[in-house]
Symmetry: C2
Subunit: 565 residues, 2 copies
């Protein structure tokens, strides 16, 4: 490709609207352009990268035995009503009506369509297992799209769905897909980790997220410093502290200070206090009893996912209002404590290990010190309801927790029969009886990977693409081509040679100063530059610049092809 025939739209200035480095560099290097909130046009350079990611994903899906199909982006609302998600999905599901006033949605995912298809097409266990995938444009009407294509509204996704007669077969395909995902991210040359994940609103039983590690990641991942263990912080178990709880030694006292002031103004250590949070209980109970108290060590953070999975707690987790708190405990939330509450009290494992601790007194402006479980608060349930923190023992039993940030680029689920049940997806089993299928689903954010790769691979000059997804393998940069026929001839001959050999080469034939050209190629992250200049032509050499290592060297023109063997 010659730059003179190429839409090379680099920007010198960083657009003010772009907050994260990948968004800034994708705009500056001319990979994408903003069209409207969460909507982008992929320019040629960006699309080249996107297609490379897409192809690697496709190849590994095919290798995993998945059949490629393509479902429509516009989906009839009826299917979503059948699965129940028409009501459950929320405003991220963009709903629309056609000219005949029939309801449709813009597909954010395709469980409904594929489950219906399989229900119609398959009739016998002999046709199982079936694994299908598509690489297709999705739409999620995010309330605040941001970070460019990292959290856009229209995006390219690979979604796969597998169908099985039983869970053992699902488990087998799940493992095949897990391995395929690892190969994909290895081939993309990204530093990634599969992490144990929560199944969230999509439902199901077992799940892994695949994260590209990057400081700018939105998710916290808990690793063991001594094993392969990695889990989304939502899912990482906080073990109970080791050893016996210390025996109560202090008397219970009431202090006329809010807990917060007590910690700030006295020698009471926050790690020896507990905080209390009132949330809604299970909605079926009577309204007056419909609250639960959650108790955590003062320095720990509530893990909402863990909490809402506890029986008796309303999901999604919902904090009580000030009025409701007042009705439960007759005080403000800042003075809450576990002692004497009339609602069920769930105490985190670490808080339950304290003795002689301080807490709110359920009386505005008062705290208690020397509090002890059993003696002062008897009727409690102990559970894991906090986020792990660095230094916690790893739940795998080896080493301690380290927390890093990651960008979620893939997610695989064992769905079970949630959709198959709702949409009557069954086949005749070996015994001739109708049997509902069990399903897996497997997503990869193809367009998001482009941004994640940049978050992990850049410097102050621009992008440093992994070789597998660089838009071009090499660029030819001639020095003052207009003035030197020799430079022009050499550059043209090199371009022809490389193009004919199928190398993806960008020939910078613009009439620009060398500095401008070098800056553009550094920004765009082309892995190799071949600089053709008068001073090296007597020896029939070009200068080779490596974008990743920064190294420069002289290379005989006859040896250029050896770079690509």
């Amino acid at each position: 490709m010659r730059t003179s025939q190429y839409l090379l739209s680099t920007l010198k200035e960083t657009p003010a609207s772009a907050e994260v480095i990948s968004h800034q560099l994708m705009l500056r290097a001319g990979l994408v352009r903003h069209l409207a909130s969460g909507l982008y046009t992929w320019l040629p350079t960006g699309l080249r990268v996107l297609k490379k990611v897409e192809n690697i994903v496709r190849e590994e899906m095919q290798r995993a035995g998945a059949n490629e199909i393509m479902m429509s982006m516009v989906q009839p609302a009826d299917l979503w009503k059948e699965s129940g998600r028409w009501d459950d999905y929320g405003p991220e599901l963009l709903r629309l009506s056609d000219r005949h006033k029939r309801d449709f949605v813009l597909g954010p995912t395709h469980e409904e369509v594929i489950t219906k298809l399989v229900a119609n097409e398959l009739s016998s266990y002999k046709q199982l297992p079936l694994n299908v995938f598509q690489i297709q444009t999705k739409f999620r009407d995010e309330i605040r799209p941001r970070f460019g294509v990292m959290r856009g509204r229209e995006f390219l996704m690979k979604d796969a769905y597998s169908f099985h007669l039983d869970d053992a077969c699902l488990e087998k395909t799940y493992q095949i897909m897990f391995d395929a995902y690892c190969r994909i991210f290895e081939r993309l040359e990204l530093n990634f980790r599969p992490v144990i994940a929560d199944t969230g609103s999509i439902g199901g039983e077992k799940s892994h997220e695949f994260h590209v590690l990057a400081e700018s990641g939105e998710d916290d991942i808990a690793f063991s410093d001594a094993s392969d263990f990695a889990a989304n912080i939502e899912k990482a178990e906080a073990l109970a502290p080791q050893g016996e709880r210390a025996i109560a030694s202090q008397a219970l006292e009431t202090v006329e200070l809010k807990l917060e002031r007590l910690i700030k103004t006295t020698d009471v250590d926050i790690k020896n206090t507990v905080k209390t949070i009132i949330v809604l209980g299970d909605a079926d109970e009577e309204p007056t009893k419909n609250f639960v108290a959650l108790v955590l060590r003062g320095d720990h953070q509530l893990n909402e996912i863990k909490a809402e999975n506890i029986s008796g707690v309303h999901a999604p987790l919902t904090l009580a209002t000030d009025e409701q708190v007042s009705a439960v405990a007759n005080c403000h939330s800042s003075s809450l404590g576990p002692k004497g509450l009339s609602v069920p009290v769930i105490v985190d494992r670490s808080a339950a290990h304290l003795s002689d601790f301080a807490c709110g007194a359920n009386q505005n402006g008062y705290s208690l010190t020397g509090v002890n479980w059993e003696r002062d608060c008897a009727d409690i349930t102990v559970a894991d309801i906090r986020n792990v923190i660095e230094g916690d023992p790893s739940p795998c039993g080896q080493g301690s927790i380290v927390i890093k940030r990651g960008i979620e680029v893939g997610h695989i689920f064992q769905l079970g029969d949630k959709y198959a049940q709702a949409m009557n997806c069954a086949v005749l089993n070996e015994g001739g009886k109708n049997q509902t299928l069990t399903m897996g689903c497997y997503g990869i954010g193809v367009s998001r990977i482009v941004a994640a790769a940049i978050e992990q691979n850049h410097d102050q000059y621009g992008i440093k693409w992994p070789k597998a997804i660089a838009p071009f393998q090499v660029a030819i940069v001639p020095m003052n081509m207009a003035k030197s026929a020799r430079v022009k001839e050499t550059a043209e001959a090199l371009y022809e040679q490389l193009s004919n050999a199928g190398i993806e080469v960008l020939f910078d034939d613009r009439k620009e100063r060398p500095g401008v050209m070098f800056a553009d190629h550094e920004l765009m992250g082309t892995p190799l530059l071949l600089v053709v200049g008068e001073r090296n032509l007597d020896t029939q050499e070009v200068e080779l610049k490596n974008r990743i290592t920064g190294e420069k060297s002289l290379l005989a023109i006859d040896n250029v092809m050896s770079l690509f063997n």
Copy 2:
């Protein structure tokens, strides 16, 4: 690919909903499945074909120097308001609102988005010409989607847009794209014709459609039987009859018969009558004068496109209501005639060549005979307003018109500055002045090509794919593999050999009767079958069946690879 791991969904029965053969065969061969009106899921076999078409289109676009980009399917309404098409496009443009109540459309085409992008990105004539394309999902909310993917609502399209400083440059790129289109349809091995076309609502000056010839086509194309001339019937000029008009010889007479009865019951030849149609005139004139009469030879058909392009005629062409006809001529439309009308009269060239002809008398139930122009109807305008018919002289000057049916699969336009003007798309020219760009646009219906190829290539047993787009190059069909270890070993070895060589091979490892397998492969149109059976294994041969020619022959197993060289 093994059929046991493949979603091979063939149907024995033809679904009643499918009217045309391509739709029937696409359903029966398991290429697509219906999801909702005009929405389809592409199953693996269909998608393999679609991807092959897509790749050929992509390669030829790249060879033509076009840059691939990807624009979003959801587009902000503002851009459509800026171009004026928000009001003009009609209900095929699906409009929707996001969660913030902002207006968007599902893109049926991308002139607005690309013109805005180029207006923002380009600043100098040095960056021109620019040619960009995408292969992307489009949505048109057809009122009556039909014929499967031939006229669906969501479909895959290649759309390209070129930008130029002047028309000479546009003309050059237009020719390059014209040639690229010819190469594409040649590579697809389709019998096609580029035809001169009307630019229609998209606007612009020059245009060609590319048609795949097939009896089931929706469009009539006029060819010369003696030259390369081909035009959409909407656009083919009907020349004036040769020679002088015969001199008036009969007296004008009134007959108490409707014209229709006169033709049926007397020796008056329909070719010596004229029919008269009242349509709306240009809307700016006074309402009472706002009609025009169109007059054609009794056996000719009105060409609406030609008529509405005539000055004084309202576009789109709109027939007068019975009431309006009555107000103009004081009779029903069946008794209309050109004599004595108070509105402008436009007479088709062939009708204007008649003498002593018959027509309605503008009095219910009466006709006139022996009518002659000038003598009886003086104030007329002669124009070409009819469709050509077979046998007409070709407008190219050579030979006669032949009419064939075609399926439109491509359309290229010289748009001029319609969009560039509306959206302020200009660059600095060599003289440093702002100059509005001129544009071309170039579409190919990628998914429609799959259906068109089937319309052109099938027999009573199923599809006969052109080699270039067959889903598989070859299928291996073993006879009674369960009973013969030798058949199984040979088939497996062949499968491995072909797969490893990169041949797209389908290995039919189902436990089905040979008849079922053969019927499925004939239906799916696999070009070559390798039948592995006991009786040929002693001589180390397989039977080769050619789907296109129907030929069967024996082939030494060692020579199988030679089929693909």
